[in-house]
Subunit: 331 residues, 2 copies
């Protein structure tokens, strides 16, 4: 299509994007003024920001524009949910090359809307900014409502608590490994046709990597169910479990067989422990409380420090380092 961001210009492009974005039920003043005004019914709000950058975080050859919008929304909604909050709104700063087709930006907006509609109904986009740059970058800031509850921090786990997870483990990392191994051309560069073949051959891990479906609604459920600590598993179960252990001043002992069951068929249990971008919720619950539906117990908190699996200390790092695997070039 002939019309690109550079040709159409910022104002006219925004006019095409805005009607595609979801409305926020919490908006008192929506987009179009110097700022938006949002409801914060209990006198507080949750805020998080996470950026996706072409190269380290995604490749245009692998991700469709609608998937970029979906994933940018989903990963931020997941951080809101991990506090036990209900997502209310997003603002989106979009920086795109001047030769980006406006149709791609429209698809990206569709992805934002679909993710909000599917994962957090009522959540919408209340503002944004559009700029040009050589590197496609999507910076989303997301807001949530704690509905009068205390936020569920990383620091509240106590010895004896059950450690439970909602969502899949290792599947997104499996998808990324497949893309790096087989989603490339003869020269090793990310390749759209190769990625299409992978989508057909391995739909689950590819979808987990390219358009993840975090269990957003289970964040508030966990909070209501008495969760003592919670986080979004984004850097791998090992790293993120260690974060809860460290912040809470306890040890976490995971059950390898339970992790393998959560990972399921087609996932190397090692990927379930160390792979990143799961966007599962990892939470701890008091030993005497029922773990809410949707959560699976994979271990327990104990006195001590650090991470154990089946009682043995796990010191290796594991997880996704945005710098380690990026060569800054093609894709």
């Amino acid at each position: 299509m002939a019309d690109t961001l550079g040709e159409v210009g910022e104002g006219a492009t925004l006019a095409r994007i805005f009607p595609r974005l979801p409305d926020a039920a919490a908006a008192i003043v929506g987009p179009g003024d110097d700022a938006a005004v949002l409801r914060a019914p209990d006198g507080r709000f949750v805020v998080t920001t996470d950026t996706m950058v072409h190269g380290p975080d995604f490749r245009r050859a692998w991700s469709r524009p609608v998937e970029l919008g979906w994933k940018a929304a989903a990963t931020n909604l997941s951080d809101v949910a991990a506090m036990g909050a209900v997502p209310t709104a997003l603002v989106v700063a979009l920086v795109a090359p001047a030769d980006t087709p406006v149709a791609d930006l429209e698809s990206l907006a569709d992805g934002l809307r679909r993710a909000c509609d599917a994962l957090a109904p009522g959540c919408g986009v209340v503002g944004g900014d559009l700029s040009v740059s050589e590197t496609l970058t999507i910076a989303v800031t997301a807001f949530g409502d704690l509905e009068g509850r205390a936020p569920v921090l990383r620091s509240g786990a106590r010895p004896g608590d059950a450690v439970a997870v909602a969502g899949r483990l290792g599947l997104a990392a499996t998808g990324l490994r497949l893309l790096f191994a087989e989603g490339v051309d003869a020269a090793g560069h990310p390749d759209a046709a190769a990625a299409e073949r992978l989508r057909t051959a391995h739909p689950e891990p590819l979808a987990a990597q390219l358009s993840p479906v975090p269990p957003i609604a289970l964040g508030p459920v966990a909070a209501r169910g008495g969760a003592t600590a919670m986080l979004d598993v984004s850097d791998g179960l090992a790293i993120d479990a260690r974060r809860i252990a460290s912040a809470s001043g306890i040890a976490i002992d995971l059950d390898a067989a339970a992790i393998a069951r959560v990972a399921g068929d087609g996932v190397d249990p090692r990927a379930a422990l160390t792979g990143g971008e799961d966007h599962a919720l990892l939470a701890t619950f008091p030993a005497d409380a029922a773990v809410p539906d949707g959560f699976v117990v994979i271990g327990k908190a104990a006195a001590g420090a650090g991470l154990l699996v089946d009682g043995r200390a796990v010191d290796e790092r594991g997880g996704w380092d945005p710098y380690a695997d990026w060569d800054g070039r093609a894709g």
Copy 2:
């Protein structure tokens, strides 16, 4: 200095940046968990986002890192103030080339802190994200507290209202014009030494362009003083006055002599009308109300439509188009 973002890594760089950032008095949970939690005492909050991208929005050869942090904060604080709100917090998504010295990122954090301390005491940084990319990009989202008041929108001006401005007009555009004309080397590329000479020869317009001081505190003052409409003059007085006229369904008639007085010595009155990045506050006040100290009357609202100067319609566009002057290359 040897250590760059790529060498030091994300986590260690954040550990060096965080202690330099300002605390937010409104923070219940600050940085370090999946999300922050902020107070919104009247059950609402104001939110705005604005991005600065290397190339269209700034040049490393002209802007010191501390100025980039200052300007990124100041421009967002100005959008909060333009709603009549008191800024409470920022989140900052920073995307920088891997070869960026960590010391530059520390200076950028210092600029964020200095701007908050000077322009909006109590406002602080409650979260952020750090990523690598080839293009330095600073996406700030800012929050504010309306203190129980209605937000001051663009749409509330009525015929007969006084039109008034707080801050300078045309000075930032004059600084940018000087930089493009004389802040370059023989090949026409942005040059740090040439910019240094300009800072000495023309300190006021250079400072207005590189480290603007918007009248943040006057936003809530205007709201308390009965402002019927207000915005942040970022795209030039002509464009932004027309925005109030259009949103309010009125005409705005500006007084050329008053504009020239606000612009002051060394500023072409035409730059005052069409130049961008003033970050002045343009507001309308009821005819029978006293205009608050710090605001200067430059015109009046009338029945009709569009923008007039001394009673004559002004149709030209004017203002700063981020696409028009950018070649995507050096600087």
